[in-house]
Each structure stands twice: as C-alpha cells, then as structure tokens.
C-alpha cells in the first residue's frame, strides 16, 4: 500500500500532504522535513527511487512541483511513478494546464480529486474518464444547489 503522498515546491514549501496511515503530527512534520531535504538534494538524471527506512520513496518533478510518494517495500516502483503521473493528468484535466498555483488556491479540490483516485492507500479508480466524470458531476451538484445564493462569487478580482 501507499503510505503518504507529499507535494512540495523547489523551495521546499509543502503544497499538499496525504497520509494513508495515522501518524502523530510531530512525526509528520519530521517526515516532511526529511523528504524535502532528501529529494531536493538529488542530482538531475538520478533515478526516481530511494530507500528510506522500510519504505520506498518514489518522486518525480513536474515543473516547479515535486511529487513524492512513499510505498511499502514489496510495491511496484514503476507503477507508483505512474500513479503520480495519473494524478497530475487528473489535475491537469480538471484545471486545464494545471500549475502550482491552482493547487495552492484550490487545495480542497486537489484533495477531492485525490480521494476519488486513491483510497486507503490503494488505487480506487484508474480510469481518467471515470474520475473526471465524478469530479465534474459533484461540481454540477454544487452549482445546482447554489443557485440563488447571493454571496457566491461570480467573477474573480485581480489583486
């Protein structure tokens, strides 16, 4: 099973954390620190796999973001790499040309998409179409329910 997924920037800023097993908050912070230093220190063109304690760490960089997935020892590394890629594709499909800022400002959406894709540390649905349909339809549900709500923001103001 997968143990955790972390997204962080080149500067080491955490953008998303998903833990598939219960871990105390202090321990989480320690792991996050260790992962960012370890992964950011890797040379380019290195392989995407690391051993860490009794886990395998699979990481990959997309633009300014690092995706870092910890899996148990017997799990398949290459497929874990594609789990990351499929998640990026799902985000991309939803946001359209997804970038780091989308994930910062819509972090809750990033979690919702992840929950449709992975559950309890295992893959739930590998079909891109089905996951997307699921997310789109929940957005539709929202719009249906929110009609007439006054303080629903219509347009975005640029700052």
């Amino acid at each position: 099973m997968m143990r955790f997924l972390l997204l962080f920037s080149r500067q080491g800023k955490l953008r998303l954390q998903k833990w598939f097993t219960p871990i105390p908050e202090r321990e989480k912070k320690k792991i996050i620190r260790e992962m960012t230093t370890m992964v950011l220190a890797r040379q380019p063109r290195s392989c995407n796999f690391l051993h860490w304690k009794d886990l395998k760490i699979i990481y990959k960089r997309y633009a300014s973001l690092y995706f870092c997935l910890a899996i148990e020892n017997h799990e398949n590394e290459l497929l874990a790499l594609e789990v990351i890629h499929r998640y990026v594709e799902l985000l991309d499909k939803y946001f359209g040309n997804v970038c780091e800022l989308d994930i910062i400002f819509n972090f809750e959406k990033a979690y919702f998409i992840l929950d449709e894709f992975l559950l309890g540390g295992e893959i739930q649905e590998t079909s891109k179409q089905i996951v997307n349909r699921c997310i789109e339809s929940s957005d539709m549900l929202q719009e249906y329910y929110c009609e007439g709500e006054t303080d629903f923001p219509g347009t975005w103001r640029k700052l």
């Binding site: 633009a63 590394e77 290459l78 800022l101 590998t126 549900l141 929202q142 929110c146």
Partner: protein
C-alpha cells in the same frame, strides 16, 4: 462560469516540442524548468479560473498569506484570521452553510500550513448534516485531515456517516466511505465494520460505491482486524474478480490480496479467478479495455494487483491452471521483446511495471527453471538500459534471483556489468543496489574478486553507505575465507581504507577469529606489526595491533627486526595519539608483554611508573597503571603466567557483524546469504556455517576493563563489593504486565528504559541505560541472572559492558529471550558501575512474564464455547474475585486485556459488560491455548476473573498476573 485562462505559473504538464530535450529519459511529459516561478515574496495573482464552487474570502486569505514578507507577518495575519473566525463561530447570528464552509476551509488551510487548530471541529461536524454537497464535502475533508480519535466528536461524526450511508445517494455514500477509509479509527470500525461488507456485496450497489466500500473495508481490516470478521460475504467478494467493471475488480483485488495474506485458505478460490482474469487482460487487444488501457498497456494496475495476489500462494496445483499461468507469464516476457507501441515513458513504465511484477511472481514460485532463466536474461538486458530507473530495478530484482538455486549461476554471469555499474553509475542509490547485488551473488568462486572490487570502491564511496559496505566486506571475507591470511589482509585493508567506518563489531570479530585459529596467529602478528609501521595509522589498527601483539607478539619476536623491544616501542609510539579506551587497551597489552618477554619488564615498568600514567587524570588509566605495575612487581612468574595467559578461544556463535547488518538493513531487506543455496546437484555449499545461523547474537566483551577483561585482576585487587548482595527492585514490574515499553527503574543517577518485542516464543528487549548525571559512569557492566529453575526456561544474552558512559548519555543493550516452557519467576538484570569513585550495584527484576508469549486468537462465539466446555476440568480453571484498585473504565480495561496479549472477542458473552478473550501461549516445547473472561460488577466495585487453559500452572500464573491489573 466562463474561465479566461491566463498563464500564472509554469504548467505541470507540458506536451510542447520545445521542452523535450533536457531529460533524455523523459521524452514527452517534461519537467518544465521555468525561471518565472511566482515565489512567496512577489505579489501573487490569484487564479482567474475557478471550478465548481468558489470561496472568494478563502482565495483572498490565501493570497494575503502568500504576500506576507516574513514568517512573523504570516503569523500575525493568521492570528487575525483565527480571531475573526472564532468571533463568527461564537457570534449570536447563526451562520449560513456557505459561511460555515468557508471558515472551516480557512481553518483547514491554516492547519495545513503547519499551525495548530483547536476549534472549529464542531462546525465541521455540523457541515456533515448539510444537504448541500460541497458543504458536506468540506466537512468530511476537515474531519479526514484533522480529527484524531476525539471521543466526543467521533460519536457525532459516526452519526453523520450513518445517515449518509443510509441515504442511498451514491455520492453521499462515497463521501461517507471515503471518510471512514481516511480516518480508519477503531471507533469507526466498531460502528461500521458490520455494515460495509453488506454494502460491498449487495446486488444493487453502484460500482463506484462498491469500489469505495472494498477499500474502506481493507483499511478497517488493516487497522482493526479483530473487528472485521470473515463471514458469508468473503466468498462473494472473491467473485468480484469476475465483475464487468474493471475499477471494481481493481479495488476488490487489493482487498482480497490483503485478506488472503492473513488467511490464505479462505481465499484459495481466488487463484483460478485471478489467473483467468490475468489471462484475458494479457491477451486482449489494447483497445478492448477502453479507458483502462494506459498508454497502450492493457490495465497495468489491475495486472500488477493480480500478479501480487498470486504471490500469496504457491504455484497452482491444477496442471491446466498452472500451464495457463505459465502462458501468461511467457506472454508478458515476450511482450518485453516487442518494439514499443509508444515512445512515451509512461508506456514503457507501465509495461515494465507489469514485467517486473511477473518476474517477482516467477521468483516467488521458484519452480520453473526456464522462466527463471528468461527472467534473469531480461534483467540482464535492463542492467545496461539507458534509463537509470530500469538499471536500478534490475539490480534490485536480481538480488532476489541470486538466492534461487536455478538462477544463481545465471546471475553470476553478469558480474562484470554489476562491477562496472559500481564504478560508473552517477547516482549513489544505483551504486548502492550494485553493492547489494554483489553481496547477494557472492560465493566461494568469486569472493576474492568481489571483495577486492568492494574494497577499491570503498576508497571513493559516499559517506552515507561506507559503514554498510565495511560490514558487507567483513562478512564476505570471513564467510568465504579459504586461507585466513587473506581474511586478515582484507580486514586490515578495511581499517586502512575506511577506519572511521569500521565498527567495534568488525575489529572484535577479526580478533576472535585470530584467537580461535592458531594457523593464522603468526601471520596476523607479522601483518599488524608491518601495518603499524605506517607513520599515520588508524586508531582501530592500533587497537587490533595492540591486542594481537599482546597475545601473539612472541610468535614474531625471534626476528631481530621485530624483537620485543621494537614491538613495544612501536606500540608505545602510538600511545599518546590515542583516545582513552585505546590507551587502556594498550596498557593491557603492555602487562601481557611483561609476561611474554621478561627482558622488557623494566622498560615497561618505567613507563607504567611515569607520572603521566600513575597520576593520569583519567581514573581508568590511572587504575590500570597502578594495578599492572603492582602486579608486575609482586606476582611471581607463575602467577603472572596464569593471570596473563593467552585468551581462551571464543565460543562459536553468529557473527555479530551479520547481526549488525541485519539490524541496519531492517528485517527482510537483506538477501540471506546464510541460507544454504542448494546446488542443482543437491549438494550443500556452505554446510559448515549452518549451525551458527540461528543462534542468538551476543554482545562481545573484548574491552578489557578491569571488571570484565582479565577477570582475575578484579579478584586480586578490587574490594569484594562485587559479591555483596543487592536488593532486587521490582517496583515497576507489575506495570509491564500489559505493556512492553517504559521506564523500569530510576534513581538519582540512572534511568533504565525498556522496549520489548515478542513474537511467538521469542522476545527481544532493548534496555536503555541513561546517565542522569553530568559526570561519567566508569566500567559500566550489566548481566542477567536467573534462578536455576528459570535458566532452563529462558535463554538470554548475558553481558554488556561499557568502559565509560558520558554524563547525560544513553547506551543500549539488547537481550534475546526464548521461552522454552511455561515459567513463573522472572530474570534479574544486574548492573554495576563506578560513579565518583564508588561502586554502584543495582538489580532490577526484568518484566519477562508468561503472557508476553501470547498470540491473540480470533474465534467465533460458537468456537469459543465449544473450547470453553472442553477445558472444563477443575484443575484447568482458575478463578479470582477481587476488588477494583482503579476506576472501572471500559476502554481502559479493554486496552489492558489487549495489552495482556489476547484477542478481545465481541459478541461472545451474553452480557455486553463482560470481557472475553482468547490467545495462545507459545513456548518452544508446546503451545497452550487460553480463554479468559472478566466480569466487572460496577456496583460492588469488584471483578471476577476466570481463566481456562489446558495447563494448571499456566492458568494459575496468568490469573496472578492479570488479577493485579484492574
């Protein structure tokens, strides 16, 4: 909602042609390196696209945070926001759902930034009962991320979940199931473990709900297996492997694999279904599976899961099934040779993921020589692949192949490639895998080559892996040494090349071997003597040199170039550069010299007599100098010869180095070179080692400090305090009945902590000695004693000693325990050390009790009563009625019973207030099944405890132990 998309940062995915050269290994989806990163210190544009619902206040807040110039500014802004939210939540005006959602979401954001959140949980729980989807969704998200098992809320949360599960609305049901899977707490398992299986196998459940339910159940099974009982649903779950919907099959396969690992017999029928399914996928045209085809690879996730499931079982017995599986595996191997259907890395990753999993299955079965050799050849190709990832995985996979009798020889043919990888790979983690593989493929035929290559790699190896390589070289050198001169050379080389990384275990071991083998002693003396000639040599070499010359210097003393005086001068020239423990060791070598060579006695006595020794500030050195000097003056030659006799041979035991490497790598990670590799002709290759592999590891005791080294000295000179009897402390003993970790002893000087692990009849206790003072403890030693009755029942490792424990420092000792048969008395840990000149003696009763060797047993109510009745003989039952010593709390009681080691059985006792448990005590000679029942009487503040086992002594002892706990 007409989003106008503007570029506000680098896109994560970029399919453009312009960015495809930088990383040859990743030709298509590129890691776009943009220099226009919008950092935290520049003004941030908010995204102009918003999907679904938007929460403007949230976006403004996030934007504010990102514009904060410093950590202080960020904290200030957050505190302002927290105050605002708090006032809104406390305000008189009832908040509408949207506002509540927005604030809860802000709190979540703040929490994810790393700040503590201590309110808002109630509002989040309220959102669960909203009938607006996104409000519910945010509520669930907050709970999934933030809720620990806060018992007040869990009940409310469970209530929300219950309503959503009953709603028959698939999206709501999914949210609820996701929440259970995300939190996975025991309380949730208690509330829903019975309901979820029926959702999973009901005919009218939507596919997406089935998927969530399967994984939810999997999660609960992992966290609280005792609460997810097998039942009628298990058979129907297996049939989900036939489901039309591949998403359902994937989720179900994960569940079945986990369940099958725990109880393989119940899920045997899944083998044929899995093979059939796999065969259909492997032979399908890639378009058949529609969206489950990933970059032209048919259902890679499902294929890997199915192959993984099959690894829970031996090869199928049914011949037809077996040949169908072989066909599948062959097809997968064949596909690896076909030209790729796409140049994208996703295609090759997915394809090779299936291939590697198929190879894992082939290795697991270890029964088809042709498949094994094909797998090995395939991995051989990958060893030279241009993709680093594949080279890494090939090295890793080959490690396991090397231990198979069929493929060991085939793996060995790749030795040159692997050595080349060690020399040329740029990535340290790949080089590390190469070291692992060399270690795994090593046997007598190539040991010299491999050890030489590892030694030369060591000169430039990364610091992070040096210690491990040193251990591996030391083990291989010892294991495959035909002549021990090679072994001695190798270890001395190790010390020369990487002295700092040569741990005590390694140089202890070389001394043990030299002492035990008289054919190598002369050579060893000569070699260390030569090595010590180097102007700068590592301190570890001085230690080995000092020890060996002190024992066997006489063997080379005939040569005038290494006469006794020359030997002594050489050692003494290093003396002043060494640390205190090494100097202490050298002093012992000197006194041994006085015995070996009477002609240097005067010289050495002068050295011992000098102020720098006799008045040394270090107590240990001073004491040795004084005692050795006195000994050399007053003892007759005969007494000297007896006291300073050559060390007796060490008992043969598992190499402590191997034990260390195992500890370092963690269980299961080390390819077990100790296991006899059966040759094809059936002969056993390393038979001389087999008897040493399973013994307990000992802590070696070579540091010849007065209390443990030349032990006679203690008797001659020290006061007789060692034999004084000490009261055994058992203050904390009973606290450890239901737990394994904690502090067992503490006084003003010393704290002793324990961490213990037990499996079946074996146990391991880590003892931590903490020096609470700011001064050193000297000559610290500890050993375990037990009464004569106990000795036959528990084996343990005996001694640890440390010349010094620094003030404030902590050291660790490991005790191994084996329960031979049932017992009552506990062993005693004896500790002795010097603090400020006085000798301290402490004795502590070690919490090794019979119940530590429990394995919990799950059983149904029917089984329980059947066994309960079988154990009805009067001597098998022990009962105790006693007054509660602690408040009667159900949860605490449950935790104690679980901590005692038995499984808690729910729904067995007709009275729900009672507790019923079952377990098996494992001893080496036998296993004793045990049933227990605890009936609390809250009014009378009394308990009645009943134990039934097949052995009177066991029932008696367990009742004593548990009866003290409530």
């Amino acid at each position: 909602m007409g989003p106008v998309h503007t570029v506000y940062g680098p896109a994560l995915l970029c399919a453009g042609a312009g960015c495809s050269q930088q990383f040859g290994a990743q030709p298509q989806w590129i890691w776009f390196l943009s220099s226009s990163y919008v950092g935290a210190h520049s003004t941030t544009l908010m995204p102009t696209v918003s999907k679904g619902d938007g929460m403007r206040g949230l976006a403004v807040f996030i934007s504010d945070i990102r514009n904060c110039k410093s950590k202080e500014a960020e904290i200030k802004r957050i505190n302002k926001e927290l105050a605002n939210i708090r006032s809104k939540f406390k305000g008189d005006k009832a908040l509408d759902g949207y506002s509540k959602k927005k604030y809860v979401c802000k709190l979540l954001f703040i929490f994810l930034l790393g700040h503590d959140i201590d309110f808002g949980h109630m509002e989040a729980v309220n959102l669960l009962s909203s009938n607006k989807y996104t409000e519910k969704q945010i509520g669930y998200l907050f709970i999934s991320v933030l809720v620990n098992s806060n018992s007040d809320l869990i009940r409310l949360i469970n209530n929300g979940i219950k309503n959503d599960l009953a709603s028959r609305n698939p999206t709501f049901m999914n949210l609820a199931l996701h929440c259970i899977a995300n939190v996975g707490s025991r309380e949730m398992a208690e509330a829903f473990a019975f309901e979820i299986p029926s959702i999973l196998v009901a005919g009218d459940t939507m596919d997406s709900v089935k998927q969530s339910a399967a994984l939810c159940l999997l999660r609960l099974n992992r966290t609280s297996p005792d609460l997810v009982p097998m039942g009628e649903w298990t058979a129907r779950v297996v049939h989900l492997l036939n489901d039309q919907h591949l998403g359902v099959v994937t989720a179900a396969t994960s569940l079945i694999t986990t369940l099958a690992q725990k109880s393989p017999d119940d899920f045997k029928t899944s083998i044929s279904l899995a093979v059939a399914r796999l065969s259909r996928i492997v032979t399908s045209a890639s378009i058949d599976l529609q969206d489950y085809t990933y970059y032209f690879v048919a259902a890679p996730w499902l294929s890997v899961k199915l192959l993984r499931l099959l690894q829970c079982y031996p090869p199928p017995e049914d011949a037809a099934l077996r040949s169908r599986l072989t066909e599948c595996l062959e097809t997968i191997l064949n596909k690896a040779q076909e030209p790729p259907k796409s140049k994208k890395v996703q295609h090759s990753n997915a394809k090779n993921a299936v291939l590697f999993e198929a190879i894992s299955l082939i290795i697991h079965h270890d029964s088809e020589p042709t498949l094994l050799v094909r797998a090995c050849n395939q991995l051989g190709q990958f060893l030279q692949h241009r993709e680093t990832n594949l080279r890494y995985l090939a090295l890793e996979s080959m490690c396991t192949l090397a231990s198979s009798e069929f493929s060991h020889e085939a793996v060995k043919t790749h030795i040159d490639t692997v050595i080349n990888a060690l020399k040329t790979e740029r990535d340290v983690s790949v080089r590390q895998r190469a070291v692992d593989l060399l270690y795994a493929m090593c046997d007598r035929s190539n040991a010299k080559q491999i050890v030489a290559e590892m030694l030369s790699y060591l000169e430039t190896a990364d610091y992070s892996i040096r210690e491990e390589i040193v251990l591996k070289v030391a083990i291989l050198a010892e294991k495959y040494a035909v002549d021990y001169t090679w072994y001695v050379d190798t270890i001395l080389n190790l010390i020369r090349v990487a002295g700092d990384y040569v741990s005590e275990e390694v140089w202890y071991r070389v001394i043990q071997i030299v002492i035990n083998r008289d054919d190598v002693q002369g050579y060893a003396a000569k070699t260390v003597f030569e090595a010590l000639q180097a102007p700068a040599c590592h301190e570890n070499l001085v230690k080995v040199g000092g020890y060996i010359l002190g024992e066997f210097g006489n063997l080379i003393a005939g040569d005038s170039r290494s006469s006794p005086l020359v030997q002594f001068s050489l050692l003494h020239s290093k003396f002043h550069l060494c640390s205190v423990p090494t100097r202490a060791l050298l002093l012992s070598a000197y006194i041994k010299f006085i015995n070996l060579f009477p002609e240097v006695k005067a010289t050495i006595q002068d050295v011992l007599r000098s102020d720098s020794q006799l008045r040394n500030a270090d107590v240990e050195l001073q004491q040795r100098a004084v005692e050795y000097l006195k000994l050399s003056c007053i003892a007759s030659t005969d007494i000297l010869a007896t006291v300073l006799e050559e060390m007796p041979p060490f008992p043969e035991r598992e190499s402590s180095i191997l034990a260390k490497l195992k500890r370092k790598k963690g269980p299961g990670k080390l390819p077990d070179i100790d296991e006899n590799r059966r040759n094809v002709n059936g002969s056993s290759e390393h038979s001389e080692n087999t008897d040493t592999t399973n013994k307990v590891s000992y802590v070696l005791n070579l540091n010849s400090s007065p209390s443990t080294g030349p032990s006679l000295l203690v008797d001659v000179f020290s006061d007789s305090s060692t034999s004084a009897s000490v009261d055994v402390s058992e203050d904390n003993f009973s606290r450890f009945v239901c737990k394994n970790n904690g502090v067992i002893y503490e006084n003003q000087l010393l704290q002793i902590g324990l961490k213990s692990e037990y499996r079946q009849n074996l146990g391991r206790i880590y003892v931590f000695y903490g020096n609470k003072t700011s001064t050193q403890f000297l000559s610290f030693s500890s050993f375990v004693t037990s009464s004569d009755i106990l000795k036959t029942h528990i084996l343990h490792c005996l001694i640890a000693s440390y010349p010094i424990i620094e003030g404030g420092a902590q050291v660790q000792q490991i005790l191994n325990i084996e329960c031979v048969s049932d017992f009552t008395d506990a062993p005693v840990l004896n500790i002795q050390f010097r603090y400020g000149g006085t000798l301290q003696n402490i004795a502590v009763k070690l919490p090794v009790m019979l119940n530590k060797f429990f394995q919990p047993t799950e059983m149904t109510s029917q089984d329980f009563f059947q066994r309960w009745k079988q154990l009805g003989a009067p001597q098998q039952e022990v009962q105790k009625i006693f007054k509660a010593q602690h408040p009667m709390d159900t949860d605490v009681t449950k935790a104690k019973i679980l901590g005692f080691g038995v499984a808690l059985l729910d729904g067995v006792d007709p009275n729900p207030a009672n507790f019923v448990g079952a377990g098996v005590i494992h001893t080496k000679s036998t296993q004793v099944g045990c049933l227990l029942r605890l009936e609390p009487n809250a009014q009378a503040q009394m308990y009645r405890l009943t134990l039934r086992t097949s052995r009177e002594s066991v029932s008696q002892r367990l009742c004593e132990l548990l009866g003290e706990q409530f």
